[in-house]
């Protein structure tokens, strides 16, 4: 759920920053997507193991054999849904802009990434652990309920409604 909420916040922030008329929004989304896909090659590892709801083939595997298999599936995945991989790579940067606390954590993670490079599997596991740690720390598990177009406690006193178009 945390991923979804960060996306919602990041996406609305992206739109807030750019939004004067609707067309700008579309350009910014495209620009962000292109930048992310170019950046995708170096972050090959991160995209393959990052937080893909229900993507069972990207579950954690350390052995080299699986490593190669995952790279192929990653290429196929990038070919099939470039935006999706971009969506993953794009998120850490935009999350940095909008949320100071998680931003700092992401910044430190980015700094750490550059140091441990030798074993991508081990480093990806480190990231996964950091991300899970964030979810656990955030008390996220206190019964947050996601139901169709609603996230959060149905009895919450405040309703924040976003009227939006996917284009």
């Amino acid at each position: 759920m945390i991923r979804r909420i960060i996306v919602v916040v990041a996406a609305s922030a992206l739109i807030l920053a750019a939004c004067s008329s609707n067309s700008d929004v579309q350009q910014t989304a495209q620009v962000a997507a292109e930048v992310a896909t170019q950046g995708n090659e170096q972050q090959q590892e991160q995209a393959a193991t990052s937080y893909q709801a229900g993507e069972s083939e990207s579950t954690e595997k350390v052995a080299d054999a699986e490593q190669a298999a995952r790279d192929d599936s990653q290429d196929r995945e990038t070919a099939e849904r470039p935006s999706n991989a971009a969506d993953q790579a794009d998120r850490p940067d935009s999350a940095e802009q909008t949320q100071s606390t998680t931003g700092e954590q992401q910044a430190t993670e980015q700094a750490v990434d550059t140091e441990i490079d030798e074993d991508p599997g081990q480093q990806a596991e480190f990231e996964q652990e950091a991300m899970v740690g964030q979810i656990i720390e955030s008390g996220h598990r206190a019964g947050l309920f996601a139901n169709r177009n609603m996230v959060g406690d149905p009895d919450a006193p405040i309703v924040i409604t976003e009227y939006s178009d996917f284009l």
């Binding site: 759920m1 945390i2 991923r3 979804r4 909420i5 960060i6 996306v7 919602v8 916040v9 996406a11 609305s12 739109i15 807030l16 939004c19 609707n22 579309q26 989304a29 495209q30 962000a32 997507a33 709801a53 229900g54 993507e55 069972s56 099939e80 849904r81 935006s83 999706n84 971009a86 969506d87 794009d90 949320q99 955030s138 008390g139 996220h140 206190a142 947050l144 996601a146 169709r148 177009n149 609603m150 996230v151 959060g152 406690d153 149905p154 919450a156 006193p157 405040i158 309703v159 924040i160 409604t161 976003e162 009227y163 939006s164 178009d165 996917f166 284009l167």
Partner: protein, 137 residues
């Protein structure tokens, strides 16, 4: 900020469809609702927030990657099962004078997106916390 309010249980977040770009808007909204039928509403929402592929094949591919029941999903799309729902949301928003996207409303008030709106959320949140405080002490 919205993230915190939702997680602390002070606010719940809802998404309402606005169909400002004709067929592709409708296609994406329908696909999301059909994904929602199989518990994957937010996965489709996330996907459509950062993609410009609104084709039927794109939706079918996403449904497959989330191991949804392909046949049920395709039928839901082709029979436009949720057309009334998404068009209804668009109409209700238009009647309430909402046409620019995204527009965020807090408990039904507030116009276009602005910092003032975010302030409003914090005020309401503070009021509620103080009321809750009085209730307990």
């Amino acid at each position: 900020m919205i993230d915190e309010l939702v997680r602390t249980g002070l606010a719940r977040f809802e998404y309402q469809h606005i169909l400002n770009h004709g067929p592709p808007s409708v296609a994406a909204a329908l696909a999301t609702e059909c994904g929602g039928d199989q518990g994957r509403w937010w996965d489709f929402h996330d996907h459509y927030m950062t993609t410009n592929d609104f084709s039927r094949d794109g939706a079918i591919a996403l449904a497959a990657s989330l191991s949804l029941d392909a046949e049920e999903f395709a039928q839901c799309l082709d029979n436009e099962v949720h057309l009334d729902l998404v068009e209804g949301q668009h109409r209700t928003a238009a009647q309430a004078g909402i046409n620019r996207t995204p527009t965020i409303r807090i408990n039904g008030e507030g116009g276009a997106v602005s910092d003032a709106l975010i302030e409003q959320v914090l005020e309401i949140a503070a009021q509620l916390e103080s009321q809750a405080g009085e209730g307990e002490s």
